[in-house]
Symmetry: C2
């Protein structure tokens, strides 16, 4: 249980509602908790078991035909902490039933198809938690900001995304969409840290600075994407992410809350337990070699 760490739960306080304005979200804020970093890390560790149990039940019930699965979409500016959330929150899960897809710039083959063509095969199957590190939202974020697609095509995509998400939600996919929100100052500090640390050089991409210079346009693109695609069956959560520990604990709690809404249960057995026990007992004389 979450104990006293959370006051207002982040699945409520960070959920996008009517009239949402991204510029009102302070990346330094920590809604729902007065805890400090040490307490945040303790919360992250102590809730891991709760998360794993829900995951195992979700996976188990799917073996007997339950259709539910979870899709978590992570979007953010570079160095906002997606990687840390993947490793420290979703890395707590068991490898069975976790499917991570890190979407890169589309390949030539992918660009020859509709933008959702590469997304569809990565939607999780029953019992699975699918995690998108970037997603179809790139097609209305960087593509909008950098003009990689004409305005009328970008406009079409908001509707296409809404229809796509509605369709898979109807099939049993629970969808939560998370934006990690850092300030440009914090991003600069993290980029400089990568440059100052040789074993982090491989994570640095000069293109990140190019994108950074379009910060205002990106925030506008996020605002519009969030407004146009926020839905009861596919809600957006904007997580203040200047403090990594806060962002990780908040994402963990949002995921736990959604799994609790699914309320997975151990499936009913389809065999006679006593008879099976007898069969195993009878085979006990077995010896090898």
């Amino acid at each position: 249980m979450t104990g006293t760490f959370w006051g207002e739960r982040p699945d409520e306080s960070l959920r996008v509602g009517p009239g949402f304005r991204l510029e009102d979200v302070d990346p330094d804020s920590k809604p729902g908790t007065n805890a400090n970093k040490a307490e945040g890390l303790a919360e992250l560790a102590s809730s891991a078991q709760e998360l794993r149990e829900l995951q195992e039940k979700l996976f188990a019930q799917s073996r007997e035909g339950a259709p539910q699965r979870l899709l978590v979409v992570l979007q953010a500016m570079d160095a906002a902490g997606k990687g840390g959330v993947v490793n420290h929150v979703f890395g707590q899960l068991e490898p069975y039933g976790l499917e991570l897809t890190a979407f890169k710039a589309p390949s030539e083959e992918e660009r020859e198809h509709d933008f959702l063509w590469r997304i569809e095969p990565r939607v999780p199957g029953p019992g699975v938690i699918g995690l998108f590190d970037r997603s179809h939202y790139e097609d209305v974020l960087i593509q909008r900001v950098r003009g990689f697609a004409p305005p009328e095509e970008i406009e079409r995509r908001y509707g296409a995304i809404a229809e796509f998400e509605k369709r898979i939600a109807d099939e049993g996919v629970h969808i939560i969409k998370i934006m990690l929100h850092v300030s440009p100052e914090e991003q600069a500090s993290r980029l400089l840290d990568r440059l100052d640390t040789p074993e982090k050089h491989w994570k640095y991409n000069p293109g990140d600075v190019d994108e950074r210079l379009h910060w205002k346009s990106y925030m506008e693109a996020f605002q519009i994407a969030i407004e146009r695609t926020n839905a009861e069956h596919a809600p957006w959560f904007v997580v203040p992410a200047n403090a990594k520990w806060y962002a990780r604990a908040a994402v963990q709690r949002i995921v736990i809350s959604e799994l609790q809404r699914i309320a997975p249960a151990w499936p009913a057995v389809k065999f006679d337990v006593a008879a099976e026990r007898e069969r195993v007992q009878q085979s006990l004389g077995l010896r090898w070699p």
Copy 2:
């Protein structure tokens, strides 16, 4: 570092060599260590960081074109501990660059193709650790024992597997094949435990008892498969697995040792660090909103 836990390293002591006989392996034995369970669990935890660092370097160097990747094949009788190894050893890894495939009985479509048709797409790409929970070896194990394929077809498959593994090894895939070896008594005890524990019922399959009755034939099939496909570039390791903690610590060390042989290194940067630092600094005036 492994400290004093291991005397003879399991990547040496458990590696199949000339004249190997499965019946000489005692599932209760713990080659290479005199440690107890508590020390085994401590070793598992304390070596996790070493494993993660090797994984991160393997992934990082692939971003700059290094072709190496690792394929770990896990095979065993039911309830021998594959799931525990996946969760407790490979669950220590970061989700990036870990790809787990749990092969089930082949689908109708899969049975219409050669047995390697469904395997090939799951071979890990550069930088990735691919983990097979069951594999193409099922096609010479259960299929041989239960006569699902005629003897001449089984015979053909040993050669096909050897050629397949040689080909992918030449492409940069490091292959290690691990059999977790339990005794029939220990398997019965674990099956009974599943039957006695409602939240483990979903892991119980009445078919496991049917297979169990063919124990001797399975061991013969393992012996032949291991003999026919053991190779310098794709070695087999037989891990005594009656003690779960021993099996997990041994698999962890075998994987670490193989990654050390790959010896991944941080890739060289392809940008001017000082110039990039300057670009980030210059962008610091950026404010939003």
